[in-house]
Subunit: 172 residues, 2 copies
DNA sequence: AGATACATGTAACATGTTACATGATTTA
DNA sequence: TAAATCATGTAACATGTTACATGTATCT
């Protein structure tokens, strides 16, 4: 049920339409909690039916601008403070590593070396993102920066691990 | 479609029944690709229908021991070498961090400090696991060890990050 | 006038979780 | 013989993806 809390969280910052939220997901939440247009629109209707958000204004082209209700703000706060995050396991990368014994050592080495290169690229992309963001707007900036730092440390850790693993497997 | 490849990978090591596989998922793959009993049995039927596995022997209590077919081994190898892992994003932890501005600084600090403690516990659990495993049986051992090393580095990275983040937010 | 961006919605399908249902064999 | 373990399966529901469908407003 995290999608609904992602929507509540974004709407806590400012009112927005489904279309606005879709773009926010594609930019700020893309690396944290991706969601599709289809999911967003139907979840917004459920949230409105549950009274956690409400249409604050209607605009051109059928635009419905949603805002958090008091119940919605309470629910967001409750989720943040009272519920435990169900840490998500499931790593397709690790699943493959588990079964690398099924292919040759050389192929396994190349796979791991390729991973290292991918992670290095990801690291670079995050560093570019870091430079492109304006880090001067309050809370969202403080915690967005902390979330980005996680991504940076994560990509470095994975690159170093993949390099180490490739070495373990050996080139031949 | 990774569940099917997880099953193929386990069956590549040795033939097994759904029940055997269920236990393998709960032990060796629990931290990599969890699956439920319900999922495993229905996927085994689909894999058998697709000709990637076959019933090699039937035992007591309706036990069906499955083994990889040649087509299954090819598919596993194809998956390992020719397809790209769709890296899984989606971190409920990071989603919460993103919205910590909605609660007080003190509450946010406590949340991050609590995360650091959780990650420290996870690290300890993995180190216990490392000690309890017999690392002397070939491929599964080599690559299982590499996967575990990922988990160890990951838990350390997250603990250090959470400690850093708690400090950033400040205790008051 | 045509292209692009804005804006919302539904349908079909795949994947994943929880709970229910049933029965056989082994062990204490 | 009672409990635990072995063993498989189905049903209901939640979540997530892709594709289809429709129409309006703005910009060039």
């Amino acid at each position: 049920m995290s999608l609904r809390h992602a929507l509540l969280g974004l709407l806590a910052d400012r009112p927005a339409s489904g279309y606005d939220l879709l773009k926010l997901f594609d930019t700020s939440l893309a690396n944290v909690w991706p969601a599709t247009q289809s999911q967003i629109y139907s979840e917004l209707n459920k949230l409105a039916a549950a009274g956690l958000i409400a249409v604050a204004a209607e605009g051109a082209r059928g635009r419905k601008q949603y805002a958090l209700t008091d119940a919605g703000r309470d629910e967001l706060s409750r989720w943040l403070t009272e519920t435990d995050p169900a840490r998500n396991h499931r790593s397709e990368v690790l699943l493959r590593v588990f079964f690398l014994g099924e292919i040759s050592r050389a192929q396994a080495h190349d796979y791991l070396a390729g991973l290292a290169a991918d992670f290095a690229k990801e690291d670079q992309a995050l560093r570019d993102l870091e430079r492109s963001v304006d880090w001067d707007d309050g809370n969202l900036s403080v915690y967005g920066r902390i979330a980005l730092e996680y991504g940076l440390r994560f990509s470095v850790m994975r690159r170093e691990w993949a390099e180490w693993a490739a070495e373990q497997v050996g080139e031949q």
